[in-house]
């Protein structure tokens, strides 16, 4: 297969293993919060926008508490090779923090994270990140580069031959469902939000990483585009066979995409199981509430449809 990852094949070791990982945000520790000090400090936090939502949330939380709080609290989990895991939780539950610790954008305060059995703390952060794809909410494309340059940025840093870069871009654009010749020379500002997100996905897949980290990638696109992108993501996951970690606060998205779902609240892992098992046997009152709220919504839609049909008669 064209798009398959290197070193494919089932591994006995888990792709990612979290062992008692915790991360504490302290109100005096500006560095880990990434809050910029200064007169305009508050504005800067807001300017970071939706993507760094967790940062803003974390800092807001940190200001409330005297001695800091745990964004991720003694979390342990195992993710098998080739799984598509969705991490579900409301804002500030630690899901983005967990993801950012996985590629060392954040450093955990304790515990360890193993990638295919190797401790990531012992690896060079830059090399580690190049082994993983990373997609964020507003795509974070480089506005001064064309689509082609955006996608091939890491391959070029790795000094791939120009022809190989070009071929890879063609392959990736086709993979994410965009006509290569039509889009490769455009700039991000000439693309719709959904298209930008596809390019973000293509860029992350460029070096065929075995692990993909996706931080609410479809959070800022409209419902129809989102549905399309979800279908594409499932197809891409099937075609590439990598391990995907997908953070979302949308329960429908989480249950639709994940072959297992991690539900987090207050930095703790409440339940991690297949969507069916979670619905049948919620392990925690919070999970139960979550599912009930989703069902209530469902009931609203169903009753509206019946109502509409009846009034048609």
């Amino acid at each position: 297969m064209n798009h398959s990852f290197e070193n494919e094949g089932l591994c006995a070791v888990p792709a990612i293993e979290y062992r008692n990982v915790y991360k504490r945000f302290d109100r005096t520790d500006g560095k880990s919060l990434r809050v910029r000090r200064g007169r305009k400090g508050e504005d800067k936090i807001k300017k970071q926008g939706e993507n760094s939502f967790a940062n803003a949330e974390a800092s807001a939380g940190a200001l409330k508490e005297e001695s800091g709080f745990f964004a991720v609290n003694k979390l342990s989990a195992e993710i098998r090779d080739g799984e598509l895991i969705t991490i579900l939780g409301s804002s500030g539950c630690g899901k983005t923090t967990l993801l950012k610790m996985t590629n060392r954008l954040y450093e955990p305060d304790g515990g360890s994270i193993l990638l295919f059995g190797e401790d990531i703390q012992k690896q060079d952060p830059v090399q580690l990140r190049r082994k993983m794809g990373y997609v964020i909410q507003q795509a974070g494309l480089f506005p001064h580069m064309t689509v082609e340059d955006n996608i091939s940025v890491i391959p070029r840093l790795l000094r791939w031959e120009p022809a190989r870069c070009r071929d890879r871009v063609t392959e990736l654009l086709a993979l994410v469902g965009l006509e290569p010749e039509q889009y490769r020379n455009r700039y991000p500002s000439q693309l719709s939000g959904g298209q930008q997100q596809r390019i973000g996905l293509a860029r992350a897949l460029a070096t065929k990483p075995r692990v993909m980290l996706l931080d609410e990638p479809f959070g800022a696109v409209d419902a129809i585009t989102r549905l399309n992108l979800q279908n594409e993501l499932l197809r891409i996951h099937r075609e590439t066979g990598g391990t995907f970690l997908f953070v979302t606060h949308d329960i429908h998205e989480a249950f639709r995409l994940g072959n297992r779902v991690m539900i987090m609240n207050g930095g703790k892992l409440l339940q991690m199981d297949t969507p069916e098992t979670i619905v049948r046997k919620p392990a925690d009152p919070f999970v139960e509430t979550l599912i009930r709220s989703a069902m209530d919504q469902e009931r609203f839609w169903n009753s509206s449809i019946t109502f509409a049909r009846e009034s048609d008669k």
Binding site: G30, R36, R37, G38, K44, K47, Q48, G49, N51, S52, N103, L105, V126, Q127, L128, R129, R130, G133, Y134, I136, Q137, Q138, A139, G140, L141, F142, P143, H144, V153, I154, L157, G200, R203, A204, L213
Partner: protein, 202 residues
């Protein structure tokens, strides 16, 4: 005035060239120092704030006073002038450089870091290209302010268009005063316009 120019052309073009030389020399040294300071400031928020306040204080010292303070240390002449002008520029440059680089959308720099760029690659491939206008605007401001303050450098024997001005004032020679003021103002205005045009083409 025209007679003055035809009779003593060297009294006009030599100060002009001296002035340009002074500005150029100051600019190169300033940008090098400011770049180093910017790199340090990007690593350390607290130091950055502290340094900007310090440079703000330096910037608010009147130029004649700053020249006077430096004379016992470095004596009369161009060296002193370059040191003082460079000190002034640091405030303008550092402020524009740091805000320009920090203004780059964090989503973009986060993504750059997250897909595996080193901090130097994030800086050179993402932050600087995206902030180049702000960086260039800082340089333009610094150049124009150096041209202006540079005229006062003549008072400590550093040459330049200020010589023409001060000589003219001392001897009440209208032609010299006019040439001196027109050329220094003209130099500042033309340079500003040229650099601004260049900035817009970036």
């Amino acid at each position: 005035m025209i007679k003055f120019m035809t009779r003593h052309p060297e009294k006009i073009y030599i100060p002009l060239l001296e002035h340009i030389e002074l500005v150029f020399l100051t600019l190169i040294i300033s940008v090098v120092i400011a770049s180093v300071l910017t790199l340090i400031c990007l690593q350390n928020e607290r130091l950055s704030l502290w340094l900007q306040q310090l440079l703000g204080v330096v910037y608010s010292i009147p130029s004649l006073a700053l020249f006077a303070i430096l004379i016992p240390v470095t004596g009369l002449g161009r060296t002193t002038a370059v040191i003082a002008l460079t000190a002034y520029n640091q405030y303008l440059l550092l402020r524009n450089f740091t805000t320009g680089l920090n203004e780059v959308d964090p989503a973009v720099t986060d993504a750059a870091k997250g897909i595996g760029m080193t901090w130097l690659q994030v800086l050179t491939k993402v932050q600087i290209p995206l902030a180049k206008r702000a960086l260039f605007a800082g340089i333009r401001l610094a150049v124009v302010s150096t041209i202006g303050i540079g005229t006062i450098a003549a008072s400590i024997n550093a040459g330049g268009l200020g010589t023409l001005l001060f000589d003219g004032l001392r001897t009440m020679n209208m032609a010299r005063i006019l040439w001196g003021s027109m050329l220094s103002a003209g130099l500042a205005i033309v340079t500003n316009a040229l650099l601004k045009a260049a900035e817009e083409r970036l």
